[in-house]
């Protein structure tokens, strides 16, 4: 092969991998549905569709020379052919075998994606063998059939022979596709002819196919265009589902069950591609053309303005000329009126009058022109806003995808997790055809996955436990997408598990100092359930960066709120739990108030702003716990916004404070600001890397001036404010001698020891240091410590060994491991040895460390 052909094959492979990922996802969800759907007719459709996907994938694999993959697809296709003819039955064992091989194929695809020259055969050879063996065992009835296949396909995998039936199946398929994917069909036809040829001849003609592609520069374009047209062409034959932008061309030919996952696109941005109906693009183009008139209009207005400017320049020039004459005349008159000739005065006066007459006319012309310009620009604004709004609306529609694009991953996830945890779960999904903005779908995926995991892990009981409480051993998990009024959608995740154990929730909340015992006892169930969303709520006893700090549901909730949505949980003991995710259909613009603080314009969501008031200086009350003001008869904490945001102080107004009262959930706080500008529509943009998450900031928006502006995260802001108020009180209580805690710092580098000592001592702790584990152990024998902070990598006895040794002696002193390595392995070992928290040096943030210490002692 020449290098250009090789390059072409590479390109072709990349295209294949992208397509195959989508196919594999559909195949995988088809497999999951096979076990969950009871309706025979629907099952047949799924079998048919999956068979077709496998067949297509096999053909594509052959075209890009992935012969082992082709053989695997062939075997799987045969299984489905047998299922279709009802020669084989769906057994759990068979499903496991199928799932396993689909997973391996998926793995191979990922590797292919990462490395173009990756040899699929190495990974798939084993899969193929196992598949052949397993299929034999799993169903004896068709064993002969498979075996004969095997013996044929081994020597020349390029042309596996088939049973007569599957051959006829093949030709039927070729025909049905022929109208659809023209260029691909060409390939397939050639293939059909090739079946009579010898392997050698075939090799050659495969190359000639590639050549013919390589020399046809329009090839790629024609396929994509073709696919689009075909997608539209096939609509009449398909179910309403295939009208959706995501539906795959090949599924349009066959009626799809209403809830099947036939959408093509995945949300993974690394190989992002979406299918869009041509009609939507046409509409968009039309709107884009509308914008041309805006351009022409604005050029005209610029021309008009130049004209006015030119006239104005003229006027000023005339004025300055006449002014010079008048001034000269006045000087003469001032010096000696008598000597000035009357004739001269008359001539000057004449000039002035002439000028005034002329200007009278010109000014009224100018004024008329300005009026026209004013009306014109107002008109421009109207046209521009309607054009831009429609354009934006249409563009947003382009990004609308059925929820199924995100949900099709869930059956596999649920199946895998259930199996891992030894639970039996049926997943039902409904409403997956409802459309949402692709970006909303992408961002709600992780929270949804987290909620599902939570339901399976904590909600669902094991089969035995279910049987004991009189339930069916198989649990039911439902995901329903519901269209709500006013551009919102609700995703409801319901399980019929044990429900939330309120007593345990309260217990953990008390243990983590979220609430006190008294409050816990007084709480109703409705009040207690939201505790699970608290960021420090965790059932796990160790603290790691994310998992153990119980941030999971808190982050899920936060991410949903960032989308402008809400997360609500309802639970009934013994009956199950329901999570409701309320979402806007599209990435929301929201109403925001522009405020000024320390010379920056900041944005506060209008919905969080309760009041905006002017308060006299003397109305601010100062007490031990900070300042407060009275708003609507209620004492509210009062802080300066720039203090909370760590922005420089700006000069304060002498008599009044301008105060905004913010409210989020139950918390309320008053902040002093410098100024309020206006309220307007705000489009949120995510912060860019390296700003992953910033305290108190939800995102940015670009203002009309083109300058970015930070959008405040009110939930964070209120937490920060509470924290600041608390810090003000703390120093006095911390200074009492009884509160001094002793910490042992173990590290083999002197710099680290000194650094740590400084940080901790300035936080009011008493510090002792040790060089290594052995020295630390000696110190621990002699003295009492409230906490141990130790490096992991140390000579003699490392941190993990030290931890194990301390625990072995039965000492329960809290231990924090510090390391420069992020290796999960160390973390596991450390936790195993009995460490309470884990810190990575590279993310070393002293406040974070102090927070953890505070929590531990």
């Amino acid at each position: 092969m020449t290098s250009s052909e090789e390059a072409f094959l590479k390109k072709l492979r990349a295209a294949f991998v992208g397509e195959a990922h989508e196919q594999i996802e559909r195949i995988s969800s088809g497999l999951s549905q096979l076990t969950s759907i009871a309706d025979e007719l629907a099952r047949q459709v799924i079998i048919e569709n999956t068979f077709r996907e496998l067949h297509n994938m096999k053909g594509s694999a052959r075209a890009v020379n992935l012969l082992t993959l082709e053989a695997v697809c062939q075997l799987l296709e045969d299984v489905f052919a047998e299922l279709k003819r009802e020669e084989r039955k769906v057994t759990p064992r068979l499903m496991d075998v199928l799932h396993e091989s689909v997973d391996s194929v998926s793995g191979v695809l990922t590797k292919l994606e990462a490395d173009e020259s990756f040899q699929e055969s190495a990974d798939l050879e084993g899969v193929l063998e196992r598949l052949q063996k397993n299929l034999e065992i799993s169903d004896k009835k068709s064993a002969d059939h498979v075996r004969s296949e095997q013996s044929h396909s081994e020597p020349s995998r390029t042309e596996p022979s088939r049973s007569e039936q599957s051959r006829s199946e093949e030709s039927r398929l070729e025909q049905s596709r022929s109208e659809q994917e023209q260029s691909i069909v060409e390939l397939s036809r050639t293939e059909t002819n090739e079946k009579q040829k010898s392997p050698d001849e075939k090799e050659e003609s495969a190359e000639s196919i590639l050549n013919s592609f390589a020399f046809d520069p329009t090839w790629q374009e024609s396929t994509t265009q073709g696919a689009l047209q075909d997608a539209l062409k096939t609509i009449p034959q398909g179910s309403p589902d295939s009208l959706l932008p995501g539906s795959h061309a090949s599924s349009g030919l066959f009626s799809t069950p209403p809830q099947s996952f036939t959408t093509a696109s995945t949300i993974d941005s690394t190989r992002e591609s979406i299918r869009i109906p041509a009609a939507r693009l046409d509409e968009l183009l039309m709107r884009a053309e509308d914008m041309l008139s805006l351009k022409i209009m604005s050029r005209q207005h610029n021309h008009d303005l130049n004209n006015v400017g030119f006239k104005f320049d003229h006027y000023t020039r005339d004025l300055s000329k006449i002014y010079a004459d008048v001034r000269a005349a006045r000087q003469l008159i001032d010096r000696d009126l008598a000597s000035v000739e009357e004739l001269f005065i008359e001539s000057v006066l004449g000039k002035v009058l002439e000028f005034l007459d002329l200007q009278q006319q010109q000014l009224s012309a100018l004024s008329a022109q300005l009026t026209t310009l004013k009306t014109g620009s107002l008109n421009d604004y109207r046209v521009a806003s309607s054009t831009v709004d429609t354009f934006l609306e249409n563009t947003k529609k382009l990004l609308m995808m059925p929820a199924s694009t995100m949900l099709e991953l869930m059956p596999k996830l649920v199946r895998d997790l259930a199996r891992e945890l030894g639970k039996e779960i049926d997943l039902t999904i409904s409403g997956s055809a409802i459309q949402l903005d692709k970006r909303v779908l992408a961002q709600v995926k992780d929270p949804l996955v987290h909620i599902l995991r939570n339901s399976i892990d904590h909600g669902m009981e094991k089969p035995e436990a279910r049987a004991e409480s009189g339930k069916s051993p198989r649990g039911t998990l439902t995901i329903s997408v519901l269209q709500q009024e006013g551009n919102t959608v609700e995703i409801v995740v319901t399980d019929d598990g044990a429900g939330i154990n309120i007593e345990r929730v309260k217990e953990i909340a008390v243990k983590n100092n979220l609430i006190d015992r008294q409050r816990a006892d007084a709480m109703t169930d409705e009040e207690a359930i939201p505790l699970i969303f608290q960021s420090s709520f965790s059932t796990s006893s160790t603290i790691s960066e994310i998992s153990g700090r119980g941030l999971g549901l808190a982050i899920a909730k936060e991410n949903i709120e960032h989308l402008g949505g809400r997360l609500i949980v309802e639970s009934r003991r013994g009956l199950g739990t329901t999570f409701r995710i309320k979402l806007p259909v599209t990435v929301a613009t929201f109403r925001g108030v522009l405020i000024k603080c320390s010379d920056e314009i900041l944005i506060v969501p209008t919905s969080d702003m309760e009041r905006l008031v002017k308060v006299k200086k003397e109305q601010v009350k100062t007490s031990d716990s900070g300042q407060t003001i009275e708003v609507d008869g209620q004492e509210v904490p009062f802080l300066r916004l720039n203090h909370v945001l760590e922005l420089p102080t700006s000069p304060a107004n002498s008599t009044h404070h301008l105060v905004m009262v913010l409210r989020h959930s139950e918390a309320k706080c008053a902040f002093e600001i410098d100024d309020v500008l206006e309220e307007q529509e705000i489009l949120v943009k995510k912060l860019a890397k390296p700003l992953v998450r910033v305290r108190n900031v939800a995102g940015v928006t670009v203002l009309g001036s083109g300058k970015p502006s930070a959008i405040l995260n009110v939930s964070d802001l209120l937490k920060s404010a509470t924290k600041m108020a608390a810090l003000k009180v703390r120093p006095e209580t911390d200074k009492t001698p009884a509160a001094v805690k002793r910490i042992l710092v173990v590290d083999d580098t002197i710099t680290a020891r000194i650094l740590m000592k400084n940080i901790l001592e300035s936080a009011g702790y008493l510090i002792k240091t040790a060089n290594d584990g052995a020295e630390a152990l000696k110190l621990l024998e002699k003295e009492q410590f409230d906490l141990l902070v130790t490096d992991i990598e140390m000579p003699k006895m490392n941190g993990i060994e030290l931890t194990a040794a301390v625990r072995e002696r039965g000492q329960s002193v809290p231990i924090i491991l510090v390391t420069s390595m992020t290796d999960q392995h160390f973390r596991e070992k450390g936790t195993e040895a009995g460490a309470d928290a884990f810190f990575v040096k590279s993310s070393f943030d002293q406040n974070n460390l102090l927070d953890v210490i505070k929590r531990l002692i």
Partner: protein, 186 residues
């Protein structure tokens, strides 16, 4: 010939002329320095920040811009100068001196921003002035000085003989210390 010079003087003059021309020819005949082919050249953009000259490889640079309309982001570390909107894209602007924990010896004016890109991270480095593009022989780059211990040394490709600090953009942008990922804890 009517000339004030004697014959000897004339000959002398001629000889001088020839010498001058020869010297000129020699200079002109010399291959231009820039045409010299050196294999280990790297091309960098130099910029000045608080009186020091830094350089980044041109291949790491997306563009250079006037720095205006930079918006401070509340509750961020000092090395984050703010964000700018570049054709609608939000880009974080970083003061590398503060990132390196260097003392602010001279006042910076931050006239320019050098937009660098590596992988999925795009950031802007503030600069007082961008002095231009030049080629540096890789063999003349010395590993960072011992005096530049700690944080800074980690992010340098080296220092040239004329004391230009060459930054390792890739290392900087992929370092975890650059990431800001903070929650408000309860």
């Amino acid at each position: 010939m009517d000339t004030p010079f004697t014959k000897a003087e004339q000959e002398n003059l001629q000889a001088m002329k020839r010498a001058v021309l020869k010297a000129r020819a020699r200079v002109l005949a010399k291959p231009h320095k820039r045409i010299e082919i050196k294999t280990d050249l790297i091309e960098v953009v130099e910029f000045i920040l608080s009186g020091e000259t830094y350089a980044v490889r041109t291949s790491d640079i997306r563009e250079v811009h006037y720095l205006k309309d930079v918006t401070r982001v509340p509750s961020t570390p000092a090395f984050i100068v703010g964000v700018i909107s570049l054709r609608g894209q939000i880009i974080v602007v970083i003061d590398i001196r503060r990132f390196f924990d260097l003392p602010q010896t001279e006042l910076s004016v931050f006239n320019k921003v050098v937009i660098v890109e590596k992988g999925d991270v795009i950031v802007g480095f503030t600069a007082d002035e961008v002095s231009g593009v030049r080629q540096i022989e890789q063999s003349t780059i010395q590993p960072s000085l011992a005096t530049l211990a700690g944080k800074r040394a980690k992010f340098l490709r080296g220092i040239t003989t004329d004391r230009v600090t060459i930054l390792d953009v890739e290392k900087m942008l992929q370092d975890r210390e650059l990431l800001v990922n903070e929650q408000v804890d309860n």
